[in-house]
Amino acid sequence: MRAKLRVKRFSTEGEASTNAFQEYEVDVPEHFTVLDSLIRVREDVDPSLALRCSCRASICGSCAMRVNDRARLACKTRLTSVAKEGEIVTIEPMGNQRVVKDLVVDLQLFWGKVRAVEPFLLPDGPEPEEEYIAPNEAMLNLLTPMGCIMCGACVSDCTSLEVDKNFLGPAALAKSYRFVADPRDGAQATRLQNLNESGGVWDCTRCNMCVEVCPKGVAPMERIMELREGVMDQGMTNTPGARHVASFANSVARAGWLDETMLAVDSWGKFNLPKLIAEIPLAIRVLRRGKMPLPGPLHHKLKGADAIGRIFKRLEGKHARKF
């Protein structure tokens, strides 16, 4: 088949500096991946094309890049899965990271965040005479995060990192989960305290982008949600994020549906007068347009609210897993 590749080129090297798309066409067999095709371009058409790859078997995590607007491993993406015969495939470097040249990004941001979560066991107590023993069942839920190959695809497409480089991001948080949930680790409480800070678990938007682009099924966002449970279980409940969850649950448990106005007030803090005063223009804006839902006791109960309340009583706080 004829592969038509539209590749983002970037270089700051002297006179060759560029920042534009370049189109290539090469003949390739049907079974070729995006990576195979790029290598064919580099070997036969343009040796100046820079890309990073190694194993070509979805294990090393080197060749993550954006293919048709989303991060993928180029070696795991067959050309025919992203384009029909004759269609152009758009290939760009990963997002949210500084581009060094063409499809190669500087991984400093990625590794800096992974290092920040202390990605190694921190056992406490005396060292055992032989190895640390962990029951098999306690390790089962670690298999998913341990499947991470550090490719950076999730970091590339994370919508929170796009606006805030302070956010730890999906890869580092999934890695942190891997140690928080490890029965041999002795620093769970400190780890969770750190994750409760700005840039930690509460800055995730739950957009599912990392779940979608992860080539290894790590589902970082789901690990972040479990970490949020862990943070709240440790009693760290006086943050806007934890108050947001509590207020949400309170209103649904009481009335069967969400009390949006109280959700805002509780999340900001009921006694946070400066914030409440600052939001008066917003309240006036929505009141004028007849869209301020009635709060608190005025928030009417749904028919069936009592049955919903009983479900809460039985199930609230019953987590799949305790750290």
């Binding site: 796009e162 509460w202 938007t205 709240m232 223009p281 749904l302």
Partner: protein, 295 residues
């Protein structure tokens, strides 16, 4: 076509115009809506942080109520509700033991979920069941001068394995197809499938407002007259919080944001007032003028 209608909390709270505009177009499309009275909030992904089984049980209760009404398709007008329901449904159907465990919790109300419910968004119903040809026939006021940036947000697209994209890959582009059927021009822009920032609006306002500012500005820079969204939470942020995003950005944006049924309603020739467009924070007058409708 009759559907079990799940309006969600926000269309009865912060965005009442979504409820109004849905009812205004449903009859014309041949969609009969029977509301699932007493159905709980889906949890919106937030309650699930308190325990997944709690959220899944509340949603299974809603599915069982729809079955008891004799209806198999739940029609959502909030893509967050739709996405959360679809994820819950997948977990329940993937694991019969889990479904049985959840059904135990529903017994006191005499409810049981048998696993027959299909979760759809209004956009999917319009394309897959009403049909775009039928919609085309109802377009009395072609929106020929209008450039519309579709803002999908998250839950109607991700996670795709819970949303039936394997059987229906076209769902990635339904908004564009509906926009075109209304004779308007879809505008492609970088924010199209990103997060609106609503889930962190009360937690990290600065980041949330940066997202609103980025998406609305980028839609404007790509030539859009307005945006359209299938999610009222996106609307609350992109429209309701746009003044705050403008202030943070230090630049005027002024990008009107329509709910999907409002766009369809305008194309059908309904009046902006009947579609609740006077309830928006960002003025829709420019859109109404371009749409050549009675103001």
């Amino acid at each position: 076509m009759k559907y079990a209608f799940y309006p969600g909390c926000v269309s009865r709270g912060g965005t009442p115009e979504l409820y109004t505009s849905t009812l205004a177009i449903a009859g014309k499309l041949g969609i009969e809506l029977e509301e699932i009275v007493g159905a709980a909030c889906t949890g919106a992904g937030v309650l699930q942080e308190k325990g997944q089984k709690l959220g899944d049980t509340l949603n299974a209760r809603t599915f069982a109520m729809a079955e008891r009404m004799g209806l198999t398709t739940i029609l959502n007008i909030c893509s967050t509700c739709q996405g959360v329901m679809a994820q819950a449904n997948k977990r329940l159907l993937d694991d019969p033991d889990y479904l049985a465990e959840v059904n135990e919790e529903l017994k006191p109300e005499g409810l049981e979920y048998t696993g027959r419910v299909i979760i759809k968004h209004l956009a999917w119903v319009i394309v897959e069941e009403v049909g775009l040809d039928t919609l085309k026939g109802l377009v009395k006021n072609p929106l020929a001068d209008l450039k519309v940036a579709p803002f999908y947000g998250c839950y109607i697209l991700r996670p795709s394995d819970a949303l039936g994209f394997g059987d229906n890959p076209g769902r990635e582009n339904y908004l564009e197809r509906i926009i075109e059927t209304c004779s308007a021009e879809p505008v492609n822009f970088p924010g199209r499938t990103k997060c609106c920032g609503f889930p962190i609006m009360l937690i990290n306002e600065r980041n949330s407002m940066a997202m609103v500012g980025n998406h609305t500005t980028s839609a404007k820079e790509h030539g859009a007259d307005c945006m359209v969204t299938p999610c009222p939470l996106c609307h609350l942020n992109l429209d309701g919080q746009q003044p705050k995003a403008q202030a943070q950005r230090g630049a005027k944006i002024g990008m009107p944001v329509l709910h999907l049924p409002q766009l369809v309603g305008l194309a059908m020739g309904l009046s902006p007032k009947d579609l609740g467009m006077n309830q928006h924070v960002v003025s829709t007058k420019g859109v109404e003028a371009k749409a050549s409708v009675r103001v």
